[in-house]
Amino acid sequence: MRASEIRALFSVASRPEVVSLAGGMPFIGGLPLEEIGEMMRRLIVERGETALQYGSGQGHEELREQIVEVMALEGISAHPDDVVVTTGSQQALDLVTNIFINPGDVVVAEAPSYVGALGVFRAHEADVVHTPMDADGLIPDKLEETLARLQAEGRRVKFLYTVPNYHNPGGVTLSLERRPQVLEICAGYGVLVLEDNPYGLLGFDREPLPAMHSMSEDGVIYLGSFSKTFAPGFRVGWAVAPHAVREKLVLAAEAAILCPSNASQLAISTYLAHSDWKGQIKKFREQYRERRDAMIRALEEYMPYASWNVPDGGFYVWVKLPDGLDAKSMLPRAVTGRVAYVPGTAFFYDGQGSNFMRLSYCYPTPEKIREGVRRLAGVIDDELETVNIFGTNGGSPSGQVDFPSPDIA
């Protein structure tokens, strides 16, 4: 990835004067840090010889057993042997792509899609074809059309990559009734489903929907993560895959990193065993809901000319700007105005999305969110004035990855 102009602008977003609605950093301040600190101390004193040692390439067995319990909350019945622990689910994404994708192979993904996944697919020289979503997630008919078209063109589709719950960046959730439909369509075309589910337990108003993996063990590779439900600093995620794939995943993981961090895995294992982690997730949900509400209220007040979805979980609101605006070319103005967001084009493989932006509400306080949206509205007004004066926006095509690094708030 190259140092792009846009990426340089994001470096200003790390300054406290800027309200960053750009990043995806969870609200770690909401964790009981004293309690976790004491747990970590005891872990090293009591089990340091294991925690600080090499571990198994597949991941620590005790943690894999606990992961099975976590996944049961979303209807998955798996065996600990089915689980491969990885360095964040991002590594699982990379390993799966490495195993399945040859240059030129097609990955079908939602429009828009998670920028981190697009980066992995790009690195492995896959071609990503987007398929549309609506308020209920992937649209089965459109998915079928896309797959039929690709088949007719003789293109080889390796998998469907989907974030079914509280989509990043779309904010929507694949409805219960569409889940089996999507699985059936993919099965019909011999296409595997890569189900990426970091946000599934972070719904605001309801119990989690059954994971797609719970409906098709053989047709789905499932990716899970502790980054949003606990803490991303440990870098612990996992994959659940059919047996044949799992063996390859373990070998590929060993080749890449020997084994995931034992210290991190045991830290999470200790946390799950000794802390009220379900209660903590409930707290997170309440905190994030408050922030979502603050963002939606501010959008209603300050940006009535824009449109957006109201997410019922997760971290993101996907905002459509008035026609004619280009979110990427507006970003320097936003930085001057002390507010940051991610331009929509980052979430597409093919340059779409220029009049969209992703706003995240996970990290800033409700007051900051309100102030950020207020500033953003001023920036949009100014940009609209310029665009109206000249009758065009300042956008130009760019093949670069225009996304902040993960440590941007």
Binding site: R7, R15, P332, R333, G391, G394
Partner: protein, 311 residues
């Protein structure tokens, strides 16, 4: 000697500044200088007040770092600092003013016009753009009237591309400078020292595959540099002399970088930098290397001279 480097800031060039700061920090520490680096924020004034000795090296790029504001603050607090004074920085920062000053001593620059966005709004953008395209021949360069690192800059080859370039530029700055694109060899000449003691370093030549934009500047491989530039002795002498005259005429202090394009044998100044980039791909460090001097030794000397000069 204590040196406090100021890097980062809130401008669009924050990232470059942070990298420049780190580079100078390492160079000075390598010489045994007690150097440290910090960002510019609300605790800056108390920090400056508490400074008992030493010198401040402002390495902020872009607005507030190069427009004279930070220098004015340093002058207010009576802190010795590296680089150009606030009043001279203000002159060098405004591209059109600096052009005018240099024009008085017959230093060429591209034919240009600087216009604020409000003018386009008040009299109608299309008519102004028509005037521009009648008055200048394409290709044109549209760039923010202040700022650096090629942010907001577009090369425009025909009238139909002009509107988009203006919008891109106005996202960075309220005033746009539209100038005739110069076609020729691009060189950067770094100058070290002040007044009569100033000295030009060998010119560095920039051969860019495509536009020499932000991406080209800060990614290895997009651009080929020749340090020293592949110029005959006469041309090399000419560009070094133009840079030195510009540095003196604008009363720049300690160090600067004057960018030029040699078109039909004539060097035209295109940019003046009073806090030139110091990153691993930046031109100033390349010029220092080409001159045979060690960057650390030079930075130490620059800081020592600023300290000696005092507040």
């Amino acid at each position: 000697m204590d040196v406090l480097i100021l890097a980062g800031g809130m401008s669009h060039e924050r990232d470059v500044s942070v990298r420049s700061g780190r580079r100078v920090l390492e160079a000075l520490r390598g010489r045994g200088v007690n150097a440290s680096v910090r960002d510019v924020d609300a605790s800056l004034v108390p920090t400056l007040r508490a400074l008992k000795s030493g010198v401040v090296w402002p390495l902020l790029h872009g607005a507030s770092g190069e427009d004279g504001s930070l220098q004015a603050l340093l002058e207010l607090t009576g802190t010795p600092f590296v680089g150009t004074s606030s009043s001279r920085a203000r002159v060098a920062w405004g591209k059109s003013v600096a052009k005018e000053v240099l024009g008085r001593i017959s230093i060429s620059s591209a034919d240009s016009v600087s216009l604020p966005q409000t003018l386009f709004r008040d009299v109608g953008a299309e008519q102004v753009l028509d005037l521009i395209s009648e008055r200048f021949s394409f290709p044109l360069v549209v760039k923010p009237a202040s700022g650096g690192s090629a942010l907001g800059v577009s090369l425009v080859t025909e009238r139909s591309e002009l509107s988009r370039a203006m919008v891109h530029c106005f996202a960075y700055c309220d005033v746009a400078m539209i100038e005739r694109a110069l076609l020729g060899t691009e060189v950067a000449v770094s100058v070290v020292g002040s007044g009569d003691a100033a000295k030009a370093l060998p010119a560095v030549e920039i051969l860019s595959n495509g536009p020499y934009d932000y991406d080209a500047r800060y990614n290895a491989g997009r651009v080929e540099y020749f340090a020293p530039a592949r110029l005959d002795a006469e041309s090399m002498g000419a560009v070094m002399s133009v840079a030195l005259e510009a540095h003196r005429e604008l009363q720049l202090r300690d160090y600067s970088r004057i960018d030029m394009i040699i078109e039909a044998g004539v060097p035209h100044v295109i940019d003046i930098n009073i806090a030139p980039g110091m990153t691993e791909t930046s031109l100033f460090p390349q010029a220092v290397r080409a001159s045979g001097e060690d960057l650390g030794a030079l930075c130490e000397r620059i800081a020592a001279e600023a300290l000696h000069r005092g507040a």
